[in-house]
Symmetry: C2
Subunit: 252 residues, 2 copies
Amino acid sequence: MNNNLIYGKNPVCEALEKNPKRINKIYIQDGVSFDNRLKKIVELAKYNKIQIQYVNLQKFQKEFEQKVNFQGVVASVASVELISLEDFLSQEKIGYKRLVVLDEISDPHNLGAIIRTIAAVGFDGIMVPNHRSCPINATVEKISSGAINHIQIIKTTSLSASIDLLKKQNFWVIATQMAAKDNYYEIDYTDMNFALVMGSEGKGISKTILNKADFTVKLESNFESLNVSNATAVILYEALRQIRTKEKLNSK
Amino acid sequence: MNNNLIYGKNPVCEALEKNPKRINKIYIQDGVSFDNRLKKIVELAKYNKIQIQYVNLQKFQKEFEQKVNFQGVVASVASVELISLEDFLSQEKIGYKRLVVLDEISDPHNLGAIIRTIAAVGFDGIMVPNHRSCPINATVEKISSGAINHIQIIKTTSLSASIDLLKKQNFWVIATQMAAKDNYYEIDYTDMNFALVMGSEGKGISKTILNKADFTVKLESNFESLNVSNATAVILYEALRQIRTKEKLNSK
């Protein structure tokens, strides 16, 4: 986490104004005086739903090394460019767009492995919420083997509103759920823009998102539910299998 | 690694005679005097291809806490029962047997995740070599979410000889390789006993094993090769999809 940091009130404020989506989290030292600039930082962070963590002096110094004058404010930023859903949707593309949406995945190893799989199947990107989700940090980048630079990373302040927007823009929303009636291989992935929503291993997908889904699908298991990165790989490769099989049929 | 340890010459010697497959590794303190019992331990370990690590006094004491008289010898053992391929093959079963064979997978996270997937699809077990492979330790058990107790774990001193034995016993050997001609979904998994061989991410499957394979299959990727636990999940779930699809057809 020690790479990709922005130090000081003015630089953090500027980053918040210019590219808020890139900011994972803001750290403020306990007891630092709240001048107008710091008030503005807190305001902009709240507006953009960026988490603020207050840290005591000792931890603050240990974490960020008091080498520079950073005025009690540090922002950690993503090492890759993050885009908005609107930007993603406005991009021209021949053929379908295929997305993975992660609902509260907090483990960087899973996030990195999922990004690697999306690059492997050649799909478009991933959408993660600003809140209650793993930040796009150095661990994610490492685990993804650099795949993070090969797909689009979309950040959203409201997963629910973004799902609504996707549906309006002709995307089909597929959610995974242990209790679903259909198996993941019983739907046709070849002929649509889709957003595959994966939930956390413990909690699954939130009810609000589940209710918006056009399809819910399950992965059969004789044991517990699969690890989320394995489950994502299984479904994405099934989609690719169907796409390749159809292409082969059409080329005959 | 501090659970599942056997201390002292006689206990280690006994474990080597009675259940050598359970032993992951033997630690011997540098400079300890080689009496007949220790010589016997080294001999039996070599015979069973169990790794011996010589450790200096300081590290030895730090690692194993000098609370008991362990005479400079400690063995780490698996927390689950390991069986031989002969035992596995002699077990009666109605229907086909399906195995995953791991060629030099050293990461306990991958090994644990693969064991969890095998339990999820309800296949029979996993075979790992004694040498150059991750021991079945507490990390593997934890990552597998306890799935380690739901499948059979086969240990072998020679992967190559074990593959030969499997083929003699009517198993088809499927190896994964980036350069393979066929995609993993282009073979029929439903009508055979099979052993799916997965190699390490860096090195792949050794040439000796590749040459023995009845099928080699690939997973298409636009990026690097997939993480080995994700790749295993994709192939095993494709096998399960084919099995379920056939069952559904037959029941009509």
